[in-house]
Structures are given as C-alpha cells and as structure tokens.
C-alpha cells in the first residue's frame, strides 16, 4: 500500500512543522462551504479550509480543478470577472469578508497577492515599485527608506538591487522581478499572502530563492500558495489541500499536514495524484 515516492514523503517529513498561532498573528483565514460560479458554470463546490495563522498551506491539483478560482475568492478578486458568483463564507479573523458593508479595499490590503507572471509596474523604478502600495492604498509611513530595505531584504532581493533602486523593474530577470513583486506585496504589511503559482515561470535557482523567502515570511504571516510542483509543496508547506474536478465543479478532496498527504493520504485519488499516477 505504501507506494508514495519516498523522496516526496521524506522531503515533507524532514521539514519542521510550524505550530499555528505561536506568533499571535490573529486567528487566520477560514473558508466555510465556499462555492464559485462563472455564469451558470459551477466551478468550485463546498470548500471548507482553515489557514492557521503563521503557517504555509499549499493548494495542489491538476489544471482546471478550481485552485486559482478558490485562491481568488480569498481576497475578493473573484468578483472582477463580470459573471462571477459565490456562496459560502470567507472568515478573516473570524469576520466574513463578503459581509455587506465590508470595505473591499481594506480586505485586499490585509490579504496580499502575488501573481503567476511577474508584473512589476512598468512606469516605476525598483524602489518606487516596492513602495507603490503605500501610494495606491494612501497609507502614511514615516520611514520609507527603512521599509524599502526591509521589504527587499525579506523578499531576498536586497543584495542584488541595493545599488540600482533607481532602475526600472523591467531590467531585472524573471526571478528577480517576481521577488520584487513579493517585496511590493510586503510593503503594505498584509497578514495573509496569496501566491498563485508564483514560481511557474521561473528557473530552479529563482524558485529556490522564492521558497527560501516563503519560509522566512511564514514567521510573520499566513501564506497560501497554489502550485503544480509537488516537490515545492512538500518543501515549503505545513498543510496541503488537494483539489480535483471530475468534469463537474472542483472539490477539495483532502487536506492534511503536508507530510501526511505525501506519506499516507486518506483518499485514493490523492494518493494517485501525489504518486504521479495521473495529473
């Protein structure tokens, strides 16, 4: 029965599991029976997941299983698609972010996002990119130089760009651009960071740097990462949730501590997926 490749299981088993909530980061993010639709098409069904504060959760599953749709419901980016609809609750520190009267801009300030393709603002320099959130969200910070440095340090980019902060972001490599985007997301001090396949366009070296960054960031925030790379899920995440669609709406098949998902998953479909029998 134990057919999981030992490499993934040992990768997942060798990392130290973070204990949720040790750093008093709030109660984290929870979803309760989230469904999502595009027009009439039901794309995501009944997802209830807890993202404990100060942990990293990986969402894995084949393409088209609703992972990206799900992650976009967590900071209300879902509603940008004109035909989108939703049911269920997303609780941030116990409060539903879809409750009427909620200020959506404040939600997105607290739940940051890093996208699949690096997207530094082309009209801004590296330094301006990092601090752009302050301007866009109209936040006041007294010592922006310190903030700039600390964000770039935490994103693992400081040593590479500290002498060229006045250059434009487009001059950086893809991996550096993505870390610049992470630094940009950090500057507004979100308590949750959503990452939608942040490494899928990057080489292994850059991917490694970003994984280091994620481990560093998890000390101070909750991280949700969508990834197609199971090695990555095994390396960086404390919990893993497996999503699957059998042609109908995507469902969350199983969620468990990462080393359990990769060593002894409960569901046969999870085991088939993580052992590479399909997907």
């Amino acid at each position: 029965m134990q057919t999981t490749p030992s490499s993934l299981a040992s990768v997942a088993g060798n990392r130290t599991q973070r204990v949720p909530g040790t750093n008093l980061l709030g109660t984290g993010l929870e979803t309760r029976g989230v469904h999502a639709w595009f027009g009439k098409k039901h794309v995501l069904s009944d997802v209830s997941l807890d993202f404990a504060a100060g942990t990293v959760t990986a969402l894995i599953g084949p393409s088209g299983c609703g992972k990206s749709t799900f992650i976009r419901t967590l900071n209300r980016m879902h509603e940008f698609i004109p035909t989108a609809a939703l049911a269920g609750q997303v609780l941030l520190d116990g409060k539903d972010i879809y409750e009427s009267g909620t200020d959506v801009t404040k939600i997105r300030l607290r739940v940051g996002m890093v996208f699949q393709k690096p997207n530094p603002f082309p009209s801004m320099t590296i330094g301006e990119n990092v601090l752009s959130g302050l301007k866009l969200a109209q936040l006041k910070r007294s010592n922006t130089d310190d903030l700039l440095e600390s964000c770039l340090v935490r994103a693992g980019l400081w040593s590479e760009v500290k002498d060229r902060l006045g250059e434009h972001g487009g001059a950086l490599s893809g991996g550096q651009q993505q870390r610049l985007c992470i630094a940009r997301a950090l500057a507004v001090e979100p308590q949750v960071l959503l990452m939608d396949e942040p490494c899928s366009a990057l080489d292994p070296g850059s991917t490694f740097r970003i994984e280091e960054t994620i481990s560093e960031l998890a000390k101070t925030m909750t991280i949700v990462i969508v990834t197609h790379n199971m090695q990555q899920a095994a390396r960086v995440s404390d919990y893993t949730a497996f999503f699957l669609s059998d042609g109908g709406p995507g469902v969350m098949v199983e969620t468990a501590p990462t080393n359990k998902i990769f060593s002894s998953p409960e569901d046969q479909r999870t085991e088939d997926y993580v052992t590479g029998r399909f997907g």
Binding site: G33, H35, E79, L86, Y98, D103, V104
Partner: protein, 349 residues
Amino acid sequence: MTQSAIPTPQTPWAVSPQQRIATGSLIALGAILAGIVVKTTGLSGKLGFAVSFFFFAALLIFIQQLRLRDLAAAKDSLLNSFALLGITLTLIPIASIVSTVVIRGYGGISFGIFTEDMTQASVNDPVDSGGLLHALLGTLIIVGVALIISFPIGLLTALYLTEIRGTLTRPIKFLVQAMSGVPSIVAGLFILSILIIPVTQEQTGLMASLALCILMIPTIARTAEEMLLLIPNELREAGVALGATQWRAVAGVVVPAARSGLVTAIILGVARVIGETAPLLLVSGGADALNLNPTSGAMGSLPFYIWKAFLTGGTQEAYARAWGGMLVLLVLIVSLFVLARYFSGRRVN
C-alpha cells in the same frame, strides 16, 4: 462523501437594491435642491439648474460615502460623479444632433426618394417628387472605391511600421501623423490641380474617391498600426518558430489576430470621409442624374445633395429635402458601422 444541497449563487459585491434606492433618493434630493436654488437665487435657466444639480448630487453622494465608509471611498465616488458628468456631456450633443436630424428629416423621407433622382425635379418642388437615389448610390460608390484603394495602402503602411520596421519607419510615422491633419479642401484642390485640370479634364466619381483616399489612408494606417502593436510579440515569434516566413506569419497569425481592430480602422476611415463635402464639390461635379460609372461623368453624393438643397433652395420643401438627406446619411453610417461590428465580432469567439 455526502453531497449537501448546492446553495444559490450570490453576488455579495453587487450594489444592493437598498443602496440603489438610497443613492437614487440622494440624486432626487439633489434635483430638488437645485430647483430651489434656481427659484431663489440669481442662478437660473437650464444651465444653472444642470450645474447646481450636478453640484448637489455629487456633494450628497460624497457625504453619504464619507459617513458610510471613509474619505477614500468618498473621493472614489467623486471620481464616479465626474465620469458620469463626462459621459452626460458627451451624450447630450449626440442625442441632440440625432434627435434633430430624425425629427426634421422624418418629413423628408418617402419611398419615392429611394427610387428617383433629381433630373425631373428641382429642389424647391414638393418632397414627394424627385429623390436621392443618385446621391445615395453615388456616396456608396465614391466611398467604396476610396476604401478599396485606401485599405490595402493603409494596411501595408501599418505593416511596414509595425512588422518590417525599416529605416524609414520614423519619417513615415511622422508623415502619416502630419497627413491626418490635412484639411479636406486641400485634398480636393490637390486632385483638381494635378489630375483633373492637366490630365482628365473631367470631374468624375473616381476623382472624388482619390481625393477621399488622401484623407482616409492616414486614418486607416494610424489606427491599423495601433491595433497591430497590441498583438503580443509572442504570437509573431510562435508563428515564425513553426517555420513560417515573415509574410506567412503576418498574414496567417498577426493580421487575423488584429481583425477586429482592423475593422475599427476601416470604420474610422469611412467615418472620416463619408460626410466630406468640400472636396466633392471640387472634383465630383455633383450630378442630379443617376450615374453608376465612377470613371466618366459627374456623380452625385449625399453631402452634395444636402448642400445643394440648403444653398440653392429657399423653400420649406428644399429644407425638408435637405434634412431628409441628412437622416439617410446618418442611417447609412450607423448601419455600415453595425454591419462592420457584426462581421468583425462573429468569428473571434
């Protein structure tokens, strides 16, 4: 796994009916306040009402957002108010022009005007004698021939600017931009002085088409260039990477991807010239008789028909005739655009 009942899809981010009613009543309150201001102060008339209405409505919504949410949301609502003001200011002249043309032109429309020309009638005759068949067909032929000549030239110019990017790109870009500002009468005079007087010595529909080409090519070239620039470079590279020559990649991938944009280029090109009157007066001759041959003889056109009825007539009949011509021209333009949009959008998705 027990599948619980699927809940109903909701859109909690949508504006709720209560909010709509609240905002609607604030706007109504703004109208009432504006009415009071117009009645009680020196500010008066429709303009005074409109200005104070906008001021009050925007202010009330600003205060509402400030109380419900915060200053940032209130500023956001102010931007929305100004955007609405902008679109209102854009729509008022359009609605006014269209309604005037429809109301006044309606009386000048009858079945007969689409079957007869003006050989048997003068502009001052009753509206039901004579017609604008010659002008309608003349306009279609002149603009059609102009489009047939201009579109390939404009598209090829745009392809030179975006795909070939040769050494002449910058000067040509500059020239095309400068050309799009050429006054239409200059285009007419140009054809008159280099073709009609020294060579053909005859005013024809083709000459009118050539004059319109001078106006149309820069518009088409510039718009097509903008549209082709929107096509991501990855598509060109993907095409070439499959072994296509540059020409095959452009014809098979780039141009089809930009199709809807190229239709926009055609629409803007046609819109630039279809109402042109000045060059047609100089080079098409402006006939009253139906002439379907653009290469010989004078040819009528709708702008010329309108111009003639207004200028040479003086009776109510002549004016009704002119307004009727305008309505036909307007309907013609709108239906051409709708058709173009329909055909450009059909195969894309």
